[in-house]
């Protein structure tokens, strides 16, 4: 795997496009299939691909464990925070109508942030889980 130059080049070329595709899936979710969850999975898949080709330490340098753990928590907080914002602006919990003067725009804004929260947590969790499993293996090998 280490010596496979072709694979490395392809990976380097491919991963930006995969991430771009993830963003497309994220933001196009309002009009076509897709949304935060699918985008989160694709982002995580791109990183996992990177980890497989370049090795776990390289991936961990690029996205450190602390950052991933912060993502895991941040997504839920964003989502729940949108709900709290609804409360503070005088609506019920998770009420998006009050987020903008035009209720329908408030809905759009609420959905946007909620989907962002989902994507952050999902990509964080998937990547973290992969790190944990893969890390277990390398530890077992050198033990």
């Amino acid at each position: 795997m280490r010596s496979d130059l072709v694979l490395r080049v392809i990976a380097k070329l491919l991963i930006p496009f995969v991430l771009l595709f993830a963003l497309y899936v994220q933001f196009h979710g309002d009009f076509g299939p897709g949304g935060g969850f699918q985008a989160g999975v694709i982002i995580a898949a791109a990183m996992i691909f990177y980890a497989i080709v370049f090795g776990l330490p390289a991936a961990r340098r690029m996205v450190p464990d602390r950052a991933v753990e912060a993502m895991v928590a941040a997504g839920v907080l964003i989502y729940a925070g949108v709900g709290v914002a609804g409360l503070l602006l005088g609506g019920n919990y998770l009420d998006y109508f009050v987020l903008d003067r035009v209720p329908a725009h408030g809905q759009e804004r609420g959905i946007f942030w909620v989907e962002a929260g989902v994507a952050v947590t999902v990509s964080g969790v998937m990547l973290k889980i992969f790190y944990m499993f893969a890390g277990r293996r390398s530890d077992a090998d050198d033990a």
Partner: protein, 493 residues
Amino acid sequence: MIGEHLPALQVVVPLVAAPLIVLLRSAPLAWLLAVGVSWASLVIAVALLLQVQSGGVISYAIGSWPPPWGIEYRVDALNAYVLVLVGLVASVVAPYARSSVAAELPRERHYLFYCMYMLCLAGLLGIAITGDAFNLFVFLEISSLSTYVLIALGRNRRALLAAYQYLIMGTIGATFYVIGIGLLYLMTGTLNLADMASRLREVHELRPVLAALAFITVGVSLKLALFPLHFWLPNAYACAPSPVTAFLAATATKVSVYVLLRFYFSVFGAAFVFERLPMRGLVLTLSVLAAVTASFVAVFQQDLKRMFAYSSVAQIGYITLGIALVNENGLAGAVVHLFNHGVTKAALFLLVGGIALRTGQVTFERVAGLGRRMPLTSLGIVIAGLSLIGTPGTAGFISKWYLVLGALDRGEWWLAALIVASSLIAVAYVWRFVEAAYLREPAPGVAGSGEAPDGMLVPAWLMVAACVYFGLDTSYSLGGARAAVAVLLGGAP
């Protein structure tokens, strides 16, 4: 202004606390947050109960979408009662957890323990408060997944196996529940429980409804460990860290009973479940079997945690027995036993956790002579044990009294006799502890380092005091249960 949003805050506060704990990554802060949130959820639950008592059913539309299009939180006398139980136990277990977790878990996992604890609390509260069948499933999974992790964090490697077994059984149970909900959804087109109940009255094709009833019953019974689907429970309770055992024993099975009650009485309707179908006989038989056999098995256990775990299976039998009586006294007995047994088992497992901290294991050999080494702990176990048996003057007596009344109201004196007789078996296993703790000499080589730390002893004794208090003053526990039964027998949720 805050008053009207209490239903949402009840669940959202612990739910937000969990990711905050992960961000903070500090065990002391996590503990403080967990204690604060637990107490807050008790306050919110009590406030909700008071609101329901004065103003009737509370309906809260999340996202301001009216039900059945959006998800509705619906609080009535029954689930407010359950919320208070969960909040109460959580408030006592959270302060207790600090010493116990510090001793039982490696340090870098402490904050994750509190994170899981918060998620489990949020999940259980969410199950109890929601008025939406699918939302219930989502929160069921939150509480289940966190429970698997909490059990697996136990010290012994058996904890892993217990967690795995529970994961399999729990997932099968949850999937059964989803199948049942799916069938009901296909027949009614709605997921809102109240809407579902009213639309079910007009459904004439009963086969899918019957199948749904069966799937939901089996699925929930797996979670509440109704005999003979209980076999995951003793392992899980015996291997989990002590605060987890206390919390789960006092709340998780009770919330599942609530789900069963909600579906039987509010969604399907008592008339449908118990009069048109032989469900009454089935539930009754299983309950009696649970109460008798599990009590017998408990007598022969060598480990205190295991013994009380089997006792839990038996006590769940009493609760479902009360459900199967389908009359006012029997149901009042069942609902008040939810509460009383929750308090009693919390007291017992908290005290046993203190012993585990001092002696490592809680086998009867190790417990020998405990009366001298840990006098307060031993006395507490004896008092809570009396409540478990149902001695007059303790909380356990009140619930058994109403169960017996319920049985007599139906003219089933043999059932009343069975309830009393199976309580005598409880005498046998509680006596085993008394004998070991007070009449036997301590085994040589058992470390005698005195009482458990105050941080554990005080919460545990609070629960012991509750066992006695709710045996003498029943205005809150029984009053709440009676109001809940009025909801159950009144028909609509």
